[in-house]
Symmetry: D2
Subunit: 254 residues, 4 copies
């Protein structure tokens, strides 16, 4: 699905898409996958009038995988009641009814809910604007590294850069998955893969969640050393460019 692919490598202009749907008078439900961005990049389900938002515990919320979240508009709930398409995971009514009294219709993943409570405390203690600024700083630094390597970021429009993931296009003739395998074996680091038509052509660098300046530097160093060991044409200096970007940002901010 093209949408979900783009979501993972650019920051979609969610509000603008809503306006376009409304301008066209189109009745479609508007669904947004925020798995790789919630709590890393600003997002407003209500204000942007989204119908169904999907999120997960395992990225910006800094938890193990196992919890998924839906925010659902009245329009989507109404549509759900009469929908006849086979579906999984979209039986909201029972959950909403049960949640009203603090319960679930079945046994929930309680240990992850306790973890979620702690993760939200951490995020609110840091402050969401600071969390978003941290991700913006890391997104800038990661892109500075990619440019210094002379490689191409898979996002043409700077207005849509993602601050939680940076997708990098492999030079022609080099397989992204072979490169990812080498990095995993040599440096014990798992880079993201390209999906569907980008399979084998792209690798993704994640920089979100429980992540700081030095984990970013370790990450970028793993990519730069991997490029050297894999014989992928590139210039050295990516990590150095990222450090310069971070030092610059630090000088300004505090």
């Amino acid at each position: 699905m093209a949408d979900s692919l783009e979501l993972s490598v650019v920051t979609s202009r969610i509000g603008d898409v809503r306006k376009a749907i409304d301008a066209a008078g189109h009745p479609a439900l508007y669904m947004v996958d925020t798995i790789s961005s919630l709590a890393s990049i600003d997002y407003r389900h209500d204000e942007w009038n989204v119908d169904v938002t999907v999120a997960g515990s395992q990225k910006g919320l800094m938890l193990p995988p196992g919890l998924s979240f839906n925010a659902v508009s009245p329009k989507a709930r109404a549509a759900s009641k009469h929908a006849t398409l086979p579906r999984a995971y979209w039986a909201w009514e029972e959950i909403i009814e049960s949640n009203r009294n603090g319960y679930w219709p079945w046994t929930p993943a309680t240990n992850l809910l306790y973890g979620l409570d702690a993760a939200l405390d951490q995020l609110l203690e840091e402050g969401l604007p600071n969390v978003f600024a941290r991700h913006a700083r890391h997104g800038d630094a990661a892109r500075a590294a990619v440019r210094a390597w002379g490689l191409e970021i898979l996002c043409a429009d700077p207005a849509q850069y993602s601050n939680s993931l940076t997708a990098v296009l492999m030079p022609a003739g080099h397989d992204a998955d072979a490169f990812r395998k080498l990095v995993l074996e040599r440096f014990d680091m798992s880079l993201g893969t390209g999906l569907s038509k980008l399979a084998g052509r792209v690798f993704r660098i994640g920089h979100l969640g429980d992540f700081n300046d030095l984990t970013l530097m370790g990450t970028l160093a793993g990519v730069e050393m991997g490029l050297a060991l894999a014989g992928v044409p590139h210039r050295a200096g990516g990590v150095e460019a990222a450090m310069k970007a971070l030092v610059e940002a630090r000088r300004v901010s505090r």
Copy 2:
């Protein structure tokens, strides 16, 4: 649903039900909920020709809640492909396809899968026959306690006693939920509730999973002291009867 109610207080004769369905030539799928029994009481999905078995991580498998398991017959898979009923959690094909190569169609709850691996090691180290015998011993002892208290076990036929849960009928005029509340407040122990038409009339004593003779004794002591504090008519001596049953079983077995 009558079936799920019974499952939680008796041991259903799964194989016999299968034979009855077959004898009647009925085309229904045969679904069995083993949430409160898997890895505590003997169960054979294939041998008993069940169509869909449902299980969870949080009882006999000794893990936090968060994983659910389905075993699915070819007949159920075929039916699923053409079913038009709205449903949640029954989209098997994608999972089966992905599992074939060791993957999942989405991010699984990895920490619970590691826990499952450890739990299965523990169960196999103890040996399933020993695990089942342990639960049988605890079921016998729990029922001995209930009888000594002069209360009624919610299962008329000894052949169908459950070795993982014992449901106890409250004497007329006494509310099971008020009793459960007192036990929770005074002894920090959560007893199970009666479902649907048994609501308020029954409390359930769980004795399954990571459970030994002394946790059973603590559990039964919590019930016996709760009965005294709540003024529920009963005879003392339940814990003592359970100890006698366990000592007897130990003398025989080793």
Copy 3:
């Protein structure tokens, strides 16, 4: 050492001993081992004018073993500076100097210090008077069980009963250590051993720290079933007597 033996089975009258030392005008340092009692039974280093108090993390403070604590009077510190006896673990000056600024003279067991911080929060949330009352209730109930079994408590004077440990004298001709071994093997419960001249003649039941009414009942049931399996002459009814004592205490207190 007679003192440490008694400490573990009775509650020593620390203040009275101080007065006796002072009345005799004896210059000895007064040292008290509170390992099995701190945070379970009332204790006052300053008020009782003790010279050296020793405690550990692993009992009333509910932590793994690994931390030991000393409270030291000015008199003991002065004596320590000039003492020539070989000794281990009594080099206070360096620690006191370093602690003044929040440091240690060497790398401390930081994970246990974090645990200690959490354990103290728990104790203060429950309230020390409630913590002491809980241990008193459990001490009473454990002694009621021993009496019902017809066995002898190793403490003649009720004024000196210990609320954190109950030592039980084995009937003549029965080896306490063989009994402890059987209980460990059958019920996975480790009873304390008798020390020095009581070796083999006594077993100790611990009831302190992170401990509630139902863990006490599980503990006493393990002893009662063990006595039956070991063929130690006793009367049944110990657990029942303990439950009666607890129910009575609950009726009065709340």
Copy 4:
């Protein structure tokens, strides 16, 4: 103490010192502090004829602090029995006696002993020669970074470089502790301090224990960015030089 200072910044020639002591016919006990090197750099208590070796759980053994280890020669044990100097932590005889049967004279830090068991499994699975080679690779790379920065390594003789710690001399007029504070605040990374006469003049980069290529790169990036933010005269390129060293080592070894 000069010895312990040097131990932390160079690799002492333990065997050579032994030979010198023997050649001089000097009766002194030979004691070696391996806290920052055991399980990171080759060490042979028996072969090098050391009298007392001291180690701790918190560095190469990858555990929280809390355990300390002594290896003791017969000569040191004999001396200990008659020593009259006040001392802490050197009462070996009781421990040795008790250990013989698998016990301790007091309650040991059991959770750390379980951790030690797991840590030793990890070390043996990696293989000690590989563990030492990994630390050697990281020591080389760290020193390459320091040289690229144009700073001075506090060890004149390459034969004595430490592979677990690299001490860096601050340029005149710059306070090492102020620099360490900035790095801690900005990058949440704690660098080691200079001891005694090196206080304020040196900072130490640890690269030992549970440590891989990318944690080293994150560490060196924290130093390089800290030097920039603190205005310490240096050349950029340290991280890049370290990456080159690692890539080179990887090309050769596998």
